[in-house]
């Protein structure tokens, strides 16, 4: 168990974040807090993907060419670039989701004067 906790710390760490975000989304009554929970949920997945690409003893994936390419490039020297590319997409999706969610919250606040979910449901019933 200890060995698992020490060597694979990145996994149980992202699981804690995901569960915090998930709990926040499910339980919070205020829509803005639900949105914040959703953001935590999205960004913990980005943390998980980035931890995949890590390699011990490797540097950032910019290949030193300094002019001529003298020796063959060894893949072990550079970390895995693919998760970083995927996560650029996920970050942009997160930004876009937050943008649209804030626009929706403005409309809801404009129409119902509140962001509390139960008050909105009452206002809708009338």
């Amino acid at each position: 168990m200890i060995e698992y906790l020490v060597t694979k710390h990145s996994y149980w760490f992202y699981i804690i974040l995901i569960m915090m975000g998930f709990y926040g989304m499910m339980v919070k009554n205020n829509l803005m807090k639900k949105l914040i929970g959703m953001n935590i949920f999205q960004w913990s997945i980005i943390l998980f993907f980035i931890s995949i690409g890590a390699k011990k003893g490797a540097t950032i994936p910019i290949i030193e060419t300094h002019g001529v390419l003298n020796q063959a490039v060894r893949a072990a020297d550079y970390i895995n670039p693919l998760p970083h590319v995927l996560m650029l997409t996920a970050i942009v999706v997160g930004v876009a989701t937050t943008g649209i969610a804030l626009a929706l919250l403005i409309i809801i606040y404009q129409n119902y004067g509140t962001l509390e979910e139960d008050e909105i449901i009452e206002a809708l019933k009338k």
């Binding site: 339980v27 003893g57 893949a75 072990a76 895995n80 693919l82 970083h84 995927l86 999706v93 409309i107």
Partner: protein, 93 residues
């Protein structure tokens, strides 16, 4: 309380299943061997770009980035549609 219980169960299941993942930073893990080796070794040779992330972003998987730009474009259009004309009473009910 029920939500806390559900979250705990889900977290425990995820932690239980995360045991089989490779160790953090292990250079021999499948993710670092299978596809990404070509990106690192051949990026300068095939695309002339030393930054492997930019070459994967714009060339090898350039299609993803095109849709990513379209995602942020659609978010801009959506916000513009939802919020424009809020003051003149034509806002969505």
């Amino acid at each position: 309380m029920l939500a806390l219980f559900i979250t705990m169960i889900a977290g425990a299941l995820l932690v239980y299943s995360a045991e089989e993942f490779p160790r953090w930073g292990d250079p021999q893990q499948p993710a670092s061997i299978h596809v990404s080796q070509r990106y690192i070794e051949k990026t300068v040779e095939e695309t002339g770009v030393p930054n492997a992330v930019t070459s994967v972003l714009a060339d090898y998987r350039g299609y993803d980035t095109m849709f990513e730009t379209s995602v942020i474009f659609s978010a801009g259009v959506a916000v513009m549609m939802l919020l424009r004309g809020m003051r003149h009473g034509k806002n969505p009910r």
